[in-house]
Symmetry: C2
Subunit: 189 residues, 2 copies
Protein backbone atom coordinates (compact mmCIF):
# COMPACT_ATOMS: atom_id res chain seq x y z
CA UNK A 1 0.00 0.00 0.00
CA UNK A 2 2.71 2.45 0.97
CA UNK A 3 4.67 1.18 -2.02
CA UNK A 4 1.87 2.19 -4.31
CA UNK A 5 1.86 5.55 -2.69
CA UNK A 6 5.54 6.04 -3.51
CA UNK A 7 4.91 4.99 -7.07
CA UNK A 8 2.09 7.45 -7.37
CA UNK A 9 4.27 10.22 -6.10
CA UNK A 10 7.06 9.40 -8.53
CA UNK A 11 4.65 8.97 -11.40
CA UNK A 12 2.97 12.24 -10.66
CA UNK A 13 6.30 14.04 -10.67
CA UNK A 14 7.51 12.72 -14.00
CA UNK A 15 4.05 12.89 -15.48
CA UNK A 16 3.80 16.57 -14.73
CA UNK A 17 7.03 17.33 -16.56
CA UNK A 18 6.16 15.10 -19.49
CA UNK A 19 2.76 16.65 -19.79
CA UNK A 20 4.15 20.12 -20.20
CA UNK A 21 6.56 18.99 -22.87
CA UNK A 22 3.88 17.03 -24.69
CA UNK A 23 1.62 20.04 -24.74
CA UNK A 24 4.38 22.28 -25.99
CA UNK A 25 5.18 19.90 -28.79
CA UNK A 26 1.50 19.51 -29.60
CA UNK A 27 0.92 23.21 -29.70
CA UNK A 28 3.76 23.90 -32.08
CA UNK A 29 2.86 21.09 -34.40
CA UNK A 30 0.52 23.32 -36.37
CA UNK A 31 3.60 24.34 -38.34
CA UNK A 32 3.37 20.94 -39.92
CA UNK A 33 -0.29 21.39 -40.66
CA UNK A 34 -1.23 19.01 -37.89
CA UNK A 35 -4.11 19.52 -35.51
CA UNK A 36 -3.45 20.16 -31.87
CA UNK A 37 -4.70 16.80 -30.72
CA UNK A 38 -2.72 14.88 -33.30
CA UNK A 39 0.29 16.84 -32.18
CA UNK A 40 -0.56 15.84 -28.66
CA UNK A 41 -0.66 12.24 -29.77
CA UNK A 42 2.77 12.66 -31.26
CA UNK A 43 4.04 13.99 -27.96
CA UNK A 44 2.62 11.00 -26.18
CA UNK A 45 4.40 8.62 -28.52
CA UNK A 46 7.57 10.63 -28.10
CA UNK A 47 7.75 9.73 -24.43
CA UNK A 48 6.39 6.22 -24.71
CA UNK A 49 8.92 3.71 -23.45
CA UNK A 50 7.82 1.24 -26.07
CA UNK A 51 5.75 1.16 -29.27
CA UNK A 52 2.08 1.65 -28.56
CA UNK A 53 -1.16 0.18 -29.82
CA UNK A 54 -4.20 2.20 -30.79
CA UNK A 55 -6.01 1.07 -27.66
CA UNK A 56 -3.21 2.22 -25.42
CA UNK A 57 -3.14 5.59 -27.11
CA UNK A 58 -6.87 5.94 -26.75
CA UNK A 59 -6.64 5.16 -23.07
CA UNK A 60 -3.89 7.71 -22.46
CA UNK A 61 -5.43 10.40 -24.62
CA UNK A 62 -8.92 9.67 -23.34
CA UNK A 63 -10.15 9.64 -26.87
CA UNK A 64 -11.83 7.22 -29.20
CA UNK A 65 -9.94 4.56 -31.04
CA UNK A 66 -11.22 5.99 -34.28
CA UNK A 67 -9.51 9.27 -33.59
CA UNK A 68 -6.31 7.46 -32.77
CA UNK A 69 -6.55 5.63 -36.04
CA UNK A 70 -6.90 8.76 -38.10
CA UNK A 71 -4.32 10.62 -36.05
CA UNK A 72 -1.76 7.90 -36.48
CA UNK A 73 -2.39 7.77 -40.18
CA UNK A 74 -1.74 11.48 -40.48
CA UNK A 75 1.55 11.05 -38.65
CA UNK A 76 2.36 8.00 -40.70
CA UNK A 77 1.81 9.88 -43.94
CA UNK A 78 4.30 12.46 -42.79
CA UNK A 79 6.66 9.71 -41.64
CA UNK A 80 6.63 11.16 -38.18
CA UNK A 81 5.79 7.77 -36.73
CA UNK A 82 6.68 4.31 -37.92
CA UNK A 83 4.79 1.08 -37.82
CA UNK A 84 6.67 -1.47 -35.80
CA UNK A 85 6.58 -5.23 -36.15
CA UNK A 86 6.55 -7.33 -33.07
CA UNK A 87 6.00 -11.04 -33.24
CA UNK A 88 3.35 -12.37 -30.94
CA UNK A 89 1.20 -9.26 -31.00
CA UNK A 90 -1.30 -9.04 -33.77
CA UNK A 91 -2.05 -5.45 -32.99
CA UNK A 92 -0.39 -2.71 -34.96
CA UNK A 93 2.35 -0.97 -33.04
CA UNK A 94 3.64 2.54 -33.60
CA UNK A 95 6.56 4.57 -32.42
CA UNK A 96 7.81 8.03 -33.27
CA UNK A 97 10.65 8.57 -35.67
CA UNK A 98 13.28 9.72 -33.24
CA UNK A 99 15.52 11.19 -35.91
CA UNK A 100 14.00 14.65 -36.02
CA UNK A 101 16.35 15.83 -38.72
CA UNK A 102 14.92 13.09 -40.87
CA UNK A 103 11.42 14.10 -39.90
CA UNK A 104 12.15 17.66 -40.90
CA UNK A 105 13.50 16.78 -44.30
CA UNK A 106 10.75 14.25 -44.92
CA UNK A 107 8.19 16.89 -44.16
CA UNK A 108 9.49 19.15 -46.87
CA UNK A 109 9.93 16.31 -49.25
CA UNK A 110 6.34 15.20 -48.74
CA UNK A 111 4.37 18.39 -48.30
CA UNK A 112 6.33 21.19 -49.89
CA UNK A 113 7.66 19.23 -52.80
CA UNK A 114 4.18 18.37 -53.91
CA UNK A 115 3.13 22.01 -53.90
CA UNK A 116 6.27 23.15 -55.63
CA UNK A 117 5.89 20.73 -58.46
CA UNK A 118 2.23 21.31 -59.02
CA UNK A 119 2.82 25.04 -58.94
CA UNK A 120 5.63 24.91 -61.46
CA UNK A 121 3.48 22.86 -63.75
CA UNK A 122 0.50 25.20 -63.58
CA UNK A 123 2.65 28.29 -63.88
CA UNK A 124 4.50 27.01 -66.92
CA UNK A 125 1.27 26.11 -68.60
CA UNK A 126 -0.05 29.58 -67.87
CA UNK A 127 3.04 31.22 -69.29
CA UNK A 128 2.50 29.29 -72.49
CA UNK A 129 -1.10 30.32 -72.74
CA UNK A 130 -0.32 33.95 -72.10
CA UNK A 131 2.38 33.73 -74.75
CA UNK A 132 -0.23 32.50 -77.17
CA UNK A 133 -2.49 35.41 -76.28
CA UNK A 134 0.47 37.68 -76.87
CA UNK A 135 0.73 36.70 -80.52
CA UNK A 136 -3.00 36.59 -80.94
CA UNK A 137 -3.43 40.17 -79.78
CA UNK A 138 -0.06 41.52 -80.91
CA UNK A 139 -1.64 44.62 -82.44
CA UNK A 140 -3.29 45.61 -79.20
CA UNK A 141 -0.55 47.48 -77.32
CA UNK A 142 -2.58 48.06 -74.18
CA UNK A 143 -3.43 44.43 -73.80
CA UNK A 144 0.00 43.07 -74.68
CA UNK A 145 1.47 45.34 -72.05
CA UNK A 146 -0.79 43.70 -69.51
CA UNK A 147 0.20 40.27 -70.71
CA UNK A 148 3.88 41.08 -70.61
CA UNK A 149 3.63 42.14 -66.99
CA UNK A 150 1.84 38.97 -66.03
CA UNK A 151 4.30 36.80 -67.89
CA UNK A 152 7.19 38.51 -66.14
CA UNK A 153 5.59 37.84 -62.78
CA UNK A 154 5.01 34.23 -63.65
CA UNK A 155 8.60 33.78 -64.73
CA UNK A 156 9.80 35.13 -61.43
CA UNK A 157 7.49 32.78 -59.60
CA UNK A 158 8.78 29.81 -61.55
CA UNK A 159 12.35 30.82 -60.75
CA UNK A 160 11.48 30.97 -57.08
CA UNK A 161 9.86 27.55 -57.10
CA UNK A 162 12.89 26.21 -58.89
CA UNK A 163 15.02 27.53 -56.07
CA UNK A 164 12.71 25.97 -53.50
CA UNK A 165 12.92 22.69 -55.33
CA UNK A 166 16.70 22.81 -55.19
CA UNK A 167 16.60 23.76 -51.54
CA UNK A 168 14.49 20.72 -50.77
CA UNK A 169 17.01 18.67 -52.74
CA UNK A 170 19.72 19.74 -50.34
CA UNK A 171 17.51 18.74 -47.44
CA UNK A 172 16.89 15.35 -48.90
CA UNK A 173 20.47 14.69 -49.90
CA UNK A 174 21.76 15.81 -46.53
CA UNK A 175 23.85 18.47 -48.21
CA UNK A 176 22.23 21.03 -45.98
CA UNK A 177 24.21 19.61 -43.07
CA UNK A 178 27.38 20.80 -44.72
CA UNK A 179 26.20 24.38 -44.46
CA UNK A 180 24.45 23.92 -41.13
CA UNK A 181 26.11 21.07 -39.25
CA UNK A 182 24.16 19.13 -36.68
CA UNK A 183 26.90 19.87 -34.20
CA UNK A 184 27.11 23.59 -33.60
CA UNK A 185 30.55 24.97 -34.47
CA UNK A 186 32.70 25.14 -31.36
CA UNK A 187 34.12 28.62 -30.87
CA UNK A 188 37.93 28.34 -30.77
CA UNK A 189 39.95 31.43 -30.02
Amino acid sequence: MSLDQFEDERDAAIHKVRKRVIETIGRNMDLYGISQSTGHLYGLLFFADKPMTLDEMGREMKMSKTSMSTGVRTLLDLKMVNKVWEKGSRKDLYEVEYDWYQTFTDFFDIKWRKSVESNIQILSKSIDEMGRLLTEYEHDPEFTELLRKDIAKLHEAVAYYGWLDRLIDTFESGEIFKLVPKEPPTPHN
Copy 2:
Protein backbone atom coordinates in the same frame (compact mmCIF):
# COMPACT_ATOMS: atom_id res chain seq x y z
CA MET B 1 -20.39 48.42 -78.51
CA SER B 2 -18.20 46.17 -80.61
CA LEU B 3 -15.23 47.68 -78.82
CA ASP B 4 -16.65 46.55 -75.53
CA GLN B 5 -17.11 43.14 -76.98
CA PHE B 6 -13.45 42.95 -77.89
CA GLU B 7 -12.49 44.04 -74.46
CA ASP B 8 -14.69 41.40 -72.90
CA GLU B 9 -13.13 38.74 -75.05
CA ARG B 10 -9.61 39.79 -74.11
CA ASP B 11 -10.49 40.15 -70.47
CA ALA B 12 -12.11 36.77 -70.38
CA ALA B 13 -9.02 35.17 -71.90
CA ILE B 14 -6.54 36.66 -69.48
CA HIS B 15 -8.93 36.29 -66.59
CA LYS B 16 -9.24 32.58 -67.16
CA VAL B 17 -5.51 32.06 -66.99
CA ARG B 18 -5.10 34.30 -63.99
CA LYS B 19 -7.90 32.56 -62.18
CA ARG B 20 -6.26 29.19 -62.47
CA VAL B 21 -2.97 30.53 -61.16
CA ILE B 22 -4.68 32.35 -58.31
CA GLU B 23 -6.47 29.21 -57.27
CA THR B 24 -3.31 27.17 -57.42
CA ILE B 25 -1.50 29.67 -55.26
CA GLY B 26 -4.41 29.84 -52.87
CA ARG B 27 -4.66 26.12 -52.54
CA ASN B 28 -1.01 25.67 -51.72
CA MET B 29 -0.96 28.46 -49.21
CA ASP B 30 -2.00 26.13 -46.43
CA LEU B 31 1.69 25.33 -46.07
CA TYR B 32 1.96 28.76 -44.52
CA GLY B 33 -0.94 28.10 -42.22
CA ILE B 34 -3.17 30.38 -44.23
CA SER B 35 -6.79 29.67 -45.05
CA GLN B 36 -7.77 28.98 -48.60
CA SER B 37 -9.64 32.23 -49.05
CA THR B 38 -6.83 34.33 -47.63
CA GLY B 39 -4.54 32.50 -49.99
CA HIS B 40 -6.94 33.38 -52.74
CA LEU B 41 -6.74 37.00 -51.70
CA TYR B 42 -2.99 36.80 -51.91
CA GLY B 43 -3.27 35.45 -55.43
CA LEU B 44 -5.51 38.33 -56.37
CA LEU B 45 -3.00 40.84 -55.08
CA PHE B 46 -0.25 39.03 -56.89
CA PHE B 47 -1.80 39.85 -60.24
CA ALA B 48 -3.09 43.28 -59.35
CA ASP B 49 -1.58 45.89 -61.60
CA LYS B 50 -1.51 48.36 -58.76
CA PRO B 51 -1.91 48.39 -54.99
CA MET B 52 -5.47 47.68 -53.97
CA THR B 53 -7.88 49.01 -51.40
CA LEU B 54 -10.04 46.85 -49.17
CA ASP B 55 -13.11 47.80 -51.14
CA GLU B 56 -11.55 46.76 -54.41
CA MET B 57 -10.53 43.43 -52.94
CA GLY B 58 -14.01 42.86 -51.59
CA ARG B 59 -15.49 43.59 -54.98
CA GLU B 60 -13.17 41.17 -56.75
CA MET B 61 -13.41 38.43 -54.15
CA LYS B 62 -17.14 38.94 -53.73
CA MET B 63 -16.65 39.00 -50.02
CA SER B 64 -17.26 41.40 -47.18
CA LYS B 65 -14.90 44.22 -46.40
CA THR B 66 -14.48 42.83 -42.90
CA SER B 67 -13.09 39.61 -44.29
CA MET B 68 -10.71 41.56 -46.47
CA SER B 69 -9.55 43.45 -43.43
CA THR B 70 -8.75 40.34 -41.44
CA GLY B 71 -7.27 38.57 -44.42
CA VAL B 72 -4.96 41.44 -45.19
CA ARG B 73 -3.86 41.62 -41.60
CA THR B 74 -2.94 37.94 -41.64
CA LEU B 75 -0.86 38.49 -44.75
CA LEU B 76 0.62 41.63 -43.28
CA ASP B 77 1.70 39.79 -40.14
CA LEU B 78 3.56 37.32 -42.30
CA LYS B 79 4.98 40.18 -44.36
CA MET B 80 3.48 38.66 -47.45
CA VAL B 81 1.87 41.96 -48.34
CA ASN B 82 2.99 45.49 -47.68
CA LYS B 83 1.09 48.60 -46.90
CA VAL B 84 1.69 51.20 -49.55
CA TRP B 85 1.57 54.95 -49.20
CA GLU B 86 0.06 56.99 -51.92
CA LYS B 87 -0.54 60.66 -51.50
CA GLY B 88 -4.00 61.83 -52.37
CA SER B 89 -5.74 58.65 -51.41
CA ARG B 90 -6.75 58.34 -47.83
CA LYS B 91 -7.57 54.68 -48.18
CA ASP B 92 -5.05 52.05 -47.15
CA LEU B 93 -3.37 50.42 -50.10
CA TYR B 94 -1.76 47.00 -50.16
CA GLU B 95 0.43 45.10 -52.54
CA VAL B 96 2.13 41.73 -52.35
CA GLU B 97 5.77 41.42 -51.48
CA TYR B 98 7.11 40.39 -54.85
CA ASP B 99 10.39 39.11 -53.48
CA TRP B 100 9.28 35.58 -52.73
CA TYR B 101 12.67 34.59 -51.37
CA GLN B 102 12.20 37.28 -48.78
CA THR B 103 8.70 36.04 -48.08
CA PHE B 104 10.02 32.54 -47.56
CA THR B 105 12.72 33.57 -45.12
CA ASP B 106 10.40 35.94 -43.30
CA PHE B 107 7.93 33.14 -42.85
CA PHE B 108 10.46 31.01 -41.06
CA ASP B 109 11.74 33.90 -39.09
CA ILE B 110 8.26 34.79 -37.92
CA LYS B 111 6.50 31.48 -37.46
CA TRP B 112 9.14 28.83 -36.94
CA ARG B 113 11.51 30.90 -34.90
CA LYS B 114 8.87 31.54 -32.32
CA SER B 115 8.17 27.83 -31.92
CA VAL B 116 11.82 26.93 -31.83
CA GLU B 117 12.62 29.34 -29.08
CA SER B 118 9.66 28.51 -26.91
CA ASN B 119 10.38 24.83 -27.35
CA ILE B 120 14.01 25.17 -26.37
CA GLN B 121 13.00 27.09 -23.31
CA ILE B 122 10.42 24.55 -22.15
CA LEU B 123 12.66 21.61 -22.94
CA SER B 124 15.60 23.02 -21.02
CA LYS B 125 13.44 23.73 -18.05
CA SER B 126 12.13 20.18 -18.19
CA ILE B 127 15.62 18.75 -18.34
CA ASP B 128 16.48 20.66 -15.21
CA GLU B 129 13.44 19.40 -13.39
CA MET B 130 14.07 15.82 -14.38
CA GLY B 131 17.64 16.22 -13.22
CA ARG B 132 16.33 17.31 -9.87
CA LEU B 133 14.10 14.25 -9.70
CA LEU B 134 17.13 12.18 -10.55
CA THR B 135 18.96 13.21 -7.39
CA GLU B 136 15.80 13.08 -5.33
CA TYR B 137 15.12 9.47 -6.26
CA GLU B 138 18.70 8.36 -6.79
CA HIS B 139 18.18 5.17 -4.79
CA ASP B 140 15.31 4.03 -6.99
CA PRO B 141 17.04 2.33 -9.94
CA GLU B 142 13.85 1.60 -11.85
CA PHE B 143 12.69 5.17 -11.72
CA THR B 144 16.04 6.75 -12.43
CA GLU B 145 16.31 4.57 -15.51
CA LEU B 146 13.05 6.05 -16.71
CA LEU B 147 14.27 9.54 -16.01
CA ARG B 148 17.56 8.98 -17.77
CA LYS B 149 15.76 7.86 -20.91
CA ASP B 150 13.55 10.92 -20.88
CA ILE B 151 16.45 13.24 -20.28
CA ALA B 152 18.32 11.71 -23.18
CA LYS B 153 15.34 12.26 -25.45
CA LEU B 154 15.00 15.83 -24.32
CA HIS B 155 18.66 16.53 -24.97
CA GLU B 156 18.32 15.24 -28.48
CA ALA B 157 15.30 17.41 -29.01
CA VAL B 158 17.16 20.48 -27.79
CA ALA B 159 20.02 19.70 -30.13
CA TYR B 160 17.59 19.47 -33.01
CA TYR B 161 15.95 22.76 -32.21
CA GLY B 162 19.37 24.32 -31.95
CA TRP B 163 20.06 23.13 -35.44
CA LEU B 164 16.76 24.49 -36.65
CA ASP B 165 17.57 27.81 -35.07
CA ARG B 166 20.88 27.94 -36.92
CA LEU B 167 19.18 26.92 -40.14
CA ILE B 168 16.76 29.80 -39.83
CA ASP B 169 19.76 32.05 -39.18
CA THR B 170 21.15 31.11 -42.57
CA PHE B 171 17.80 31.93 -44.13
CA GLU B 172 17.70 35.28 -42.49
CA SER B 173 21.31 36.20 -43.21
CA GLY B 174 21.01 35.09 -46.81
CA GLU B 175 23.82 32.62 -46.30
CA ILE B 176 21.52 29.92 -47.59
CA PHE B 177 21.89 31.42 -51.05
CA LYS B 178 25.53 30.47 -51.04
CA LEU B 179 24.60 26.82 -50.78
CA VAL B 180 21.53 27.11 -52.98
CA PRO B 181 21.95 30.03 -55.36
CA LYS B 182 18.96 31.79 -56.77
CA GLU B 183 20.33 31.19 -60.22
CA PRO B 184 20.51 27.48 -60.91
CA PRO B 185 24.06 26.35 -61.69
CA THR B 186 24.57 26.30 -65.44
CA PRO B 187 25.83 22.92 -66.59
CA HIS B 188 29.15 23.49 -68.41
CA ASN B 189 30.89 20.52 -69.98
